[in-house]
């Protein structure tokens, strides 16, 4: 029994580490290579705190080995969690400016390497290569959880099960909350979140911090269960094992991770039974090979994300009148994109662009374009390929900086502002490719754009769970209303990957609506859409105008532009060469030639 209880403890520790890493790897799509050393930092911090105080008369005391501060295990665990959380935030400091995923890999890999070394040379903390021993067993009341005795080991396995369940609940709660929805949106789409007015860096770093803190806490319980440990317990191999568990089970899915931990964690004792000590390299060969094969054969893991999602019955927005009269919009309530009022609120020209320029290494992409968007109208940017239309969108939304010129939203200068701040002032954009998260539901893809959600802050999730829950209901209703405007509310609970491309385009426009911005930039809303769906897109875009939005779109289809646009701007080589109604522009022989060639 004691033997099996020990195996159970090991598997549960691995499971907790993997479940928490899944938040980072599965939800946010980021890898930490330093889980082992963070786990170790937690373990040694807790060990050093609970070890008994040195007896002044003892000779060994002078070396400091196996002596500590004599704390109770509970505060020691809390400190271990805090220390690893702070350590993780410090490691990720350079990543704040470098939001690309490989920097987190690099930094955590380097930290794992340096950290292993720190653990083995810092004798006062870890006891050096030989580690610490004599860590007192955990006690709750009079019950001792000493793993030296069989009964204690079984008790400890029970305790570990409780802790693992807590870790699973925390991870599941965060992962399936609005915060988790933010993380999933970051995954694979680094540029999307800022365009929805949300700064991706904070949730990412916070997730890394939480993942690390959980590893630190589990480290403390590892220390109490072992009684003795060496820095070698926390090598890169362990980090990789934890990653393998997540990948094998299925990223973004906690049920998968639990299965993965049981399989890979159970492998070691089985191989040890069969092969003895020679089983250890085999175990690593197997989980290494599992990682490679999974990526090649079944990248989504044993239990793919969304496989267990219940397909709920869609309930279409009840309050929504399909025939909008323009006066009534979607009720954002508390979630409105509150914009600080600017002096020229009632200008008819909402966005004024003056002489903006951008060149790439001597090649001029936009050579001094000036135009403005009129309130409540649809303006089309047309022109041949390479005319700088998308580049201008990028400059308006701040993803590209202007070399010179000015962009004013209701009299307020936007150049130099980060993308997410510009969005918060009221400009949102769509992309040529839809940039939806395919393994999330349609509703979630739209809901993520709703501004000011309390549930996106971990602070609120913990301290105001009910308020967050209530808010989530309203957010979903807003998202559903937005989908209803575009006529795709019936798809709300489907996974995006099951939708036709035309429907995906409509969902992307619904998401734009959910930002509550009043200036909407649409980049080729009909590209790649089948002819049958083009009419739906046209209807959808005209509804945006009915709702009072100021729309600017880039589009190649003249047919589309003719039917929709109130005003058209003809660009060539980054300069405005003509402006007017679509009919006027199309009738100009010169422009037609430029556009269609000879």
């Amino acid at each position: 029994m004691g033997y099996y209880a020990q195996i159970a403890i090991n598997i549960l520790i691995l499971m907790s580490l993997a479940v928490s890493l899944n938040l980072l790897l599965g939800y946010a799509g980021r890898v930490s290579m330093a889980q082992a050393v963070l786990f170790g930092i937690g373990a040694f911090t807790a060990a050093r705190l609970v070890l008994p105080k040195a007896d002044a008369s003892s000779a060994v005391a002078a070396s400091g080995i196996n002596y500590g501060l004599g704390w109770h295990w509970l505060p020691a665990t809390v400190v271990a969690i805090g220390v690893t959380f702070v350590a993780a935030l410090i490691i990720s400091l350079p990543a704040i400016r470098l939001i690309k995923g490989e920097y987190l890999i690099l930094l955590t890999l380097a930290f794992q390497l340096g950290g292993e070394q720190i653990l083995s040379v810092w004798e006062g903390f870890t006891g050096g290569p030989f580690g610490v021993a004599g860590i007192p067993p955990l006690k709750i009341g009079d019950t001792s959880f000493s793993t030296l005795r069989e009964s204690g080991t079984i008790l400890y396995a029970g305790l570990m099960l409780v802790i693992t369940i807590i870790v699973i609940l925390i991870s599941w709660g965060l992962g399936e909350s609005p915060f988790g929805r933010l993380l999933k949106t970051i995954r694979g789409n680094e540029t999307l979140l800022p365009s929805l007015g949300k700064n991706p860096i904070r949730p990412e770093l916070l997730t890394f911090g939480i993942t690390a803190a959980i590893a630190g806490g589990i480290g403390a319980f590892f220390a109490y269960s072992q009684g003795a440990m060496v820095p070698g317990n926390f090598s890169l191999d362990l980090s990789i094992l934890v990653i393998s568990v997540v990948v094998l089970g299925g990223t973004g899915n906690i049920a998968g991770t639990i299965v993965g931990a049981i399989i890979l964690g159970g492998l070691e004792p089985i191989l040890r039974q069969v092969l003895g000590d020679e089983g250890i390299p085999w175990q690593r060969v197997i989980y290494g090979a599992a990682l490679v094969l999974m990526m090649i054969i079944r990248p989504a893991g044993l239990i793919p994300e969304g496989a267990l999602t219940r397909i709920r019955k869609p309930k279409v927005a009840k309050s929504f009148d399909q025939n909008l009269n323009g006066a009534q919009g979607i009720q954002f309530g508390d979630f409105t994109n509150k914009r600080s009022s600017s002096p020229e609120e009632n200008l008819s020209e909402v966005l004024v662009i003056e002489d903006i320029k951008k060149s790439f290494g001597g090649l001029s992409a936009v050579g001094g374009a000036s135009f403005s968007l009129r309130k409540g109208q649809i303006t089309a940017l047309i022109g041949p390929n390479g005319a700088g239309k998308t580049t201008i969108f990028n400059m308006i939304t701040g993803t590209l900086s202007c070399d010179s010129g000015s962009i004013k939203l209701r009299g307020r200068e936007l150049t130099g502002m980060p993308t997410y701040e510009i969005e918060r002032l009221g400009i949102a954009r769509s992309f040529q490719d839809v940039r939806l998260n395919e393994s999330m539901t349609v509703l979630d893809n739209v809901a993520v754009a709703v501004p000011n959600q309390p549930g996106e802050k971990i602070f609120n999730l913990i301290l105001h769970p009910l308020k967050s829950r209530k808010a989530e209901k309203s957010v979903n209703q807003i998202a559903l209303d937005c989908l209803a405007v575009l006529g795709v509310a019936q798809t709300a609970h489907e996974l995006v990957r099951n939708l036709s491309y035309g429907d995906q385009k409509l969902v992307a426009i619904a998401r734009l609506l959910a930002t509550d911005c009043d200036v909407l930039l649409l980049d080729e809303p009909t590209s790649g859409v089948d002819p049958g769906s083009v009419n739906l897109v046209i209807e959808g875009v005209s509804k945006l105008r009915d709702l009072g939005k100021t729309v600017c779109l880039v589009e190649h289809s003249v047919h589309f532009v003719e039917r929709l646009a109130d005003h058209a701007i003809f660009l060539d080589q980054g300069v405005v060469i003509a402006e007017g109604t679509v009919a006027e522009l199309v009738s100009s022989a010169e422009l037609t030639e430029l556009y269609f060639g000879n």
Partner: protein, 301 residues
């Protein structure tokens, strides 16, 4: 300050830095072009060392032939990883994260396979001499001049590393195949549009990168021993050299490696020798904080 110690540590730093530079260029070639975080670069490193040791002992090959065999193995294993690991994932349009996870799996499986096949013991490089006995293949002579000493292998490390680095840089800048590497790195869409075969370029950079990693593996084997875990730590230092020196520039990477080696060696003036991994990590951390594009990198657009 102790001048003799300073001079000796500087020489040691140049030796170490040249080696870092070699590893950095090895990984940098692959990373620049493919953006794969190719941790499995450790495999050609180890394959080079084991290839030389095995062919000398089992096939009775003379020293230089055994070394060449080791390099061949390095390239073969590097390309095997590309063909059996990365290409299948790319064919499925796998994300860079998936490619990294493949790399990770290979990195953890391979040294353990080596351990299963060759055992855990460290194997020195030995060849059969004229009497038909196995003996140490390499007489690592020590040159001394006054207070300075340097070993033959150290001298070779400096010369071979820089000759290879310069050769690679010239190849990339001057030859047609080399320029296709630069083209694919700077503008993948345009490069494929003008008919550059992405797959061919990948094969080229993986072969070159693995060759350089194999050379590094031979040095470690000749100086010390071949062991299953010989490669990973060095490989990671190679990564750090790339980001420390500046991504996108092989010359920047090479000088980054050199500076990293010097820092690491000179730090032992003030710190115990076994602190050098910590110094390397701290240097990377500080550079990324104050100069995200790397020491010699150009600011990105």
């Amino acid at each position: 300050m102790n001048f003799e110690l300073l001079a000796q540590l500087t020489i040691a730093g140049i030796v170490l830095g040249s080696f870092y530079a070699l590893l950095g260029v090895s990984f940098g070639l692959v990373y620049q072009t493919s953006k794969i975080f190719h941790l499995a670069n450790a495999i050609p490193f180890a394959a080079g060392g084991y290839g030389a040791v095995w062919s000398a002992e089992v096939l009775h090959l003379p020293l230089f032939v055994a070394l060449a065999f080791g390099l061949l193995m390095a390239v073969v294993f590097g390309l095997l990883i590309l063909f059996l690991g990365y290409f299948p994932v790319m064919r499925r349009n796998g994300a860079l994260l998936s490619l990294f996870l493949v790399s990770l799996g290979i990195t953890v499986a391979f040294p353990n396979l080596l351990q299963i096949v060759f055992g855990t013991e460290n194997i020195p490089l030995r060849t059969y001499n004229s009497e038909g006995e196995l003996s140490s293949a390499f007489d690592n002579r020590v040159f001394s001049s006054g207070f300075l000493t340097i070993t033959l292998i150290d001298v070779l490390k400096i010369i071979v590393s820089w000759v290879l680095i310069i050769a690679v840089v010239v190849f990339v800048k001057r030859t047609r195949s080399g320029r296709s590497i630069t083209a694919l790195r700077t503008n993948p869409t345009m490069a494929t549009a003008v008919g550059i075969d992405r797959k061919r370029v990948y094969i080229l950079v993986f072969a070159l990168g693995s060759f350089l990693a194999g050379v590094a593996g031979l040095f470690v084997t000749a100086e010390f021993v071949a062991s299953p875990v010989m490669a990973l730590q060095w490989t990671i230092v190679g990564f750090i050299a790339v980001f420390f020196g500046g991504i996108g520039s092989l010359v920047g990477t090479a000088f980054g490696g050199l500076v990293l080696g010097l820092l690491s060696s000179l730090s032992s003036l003030y710190l115990p020798v076994n602190y050098s991994p910590i110094v390397v990590f701290a240097s990377l951390f500080i550079i990324l904080l104050i100069r995200p594009q790397g020491l010699f990198g150009k600011a990105s657009v």
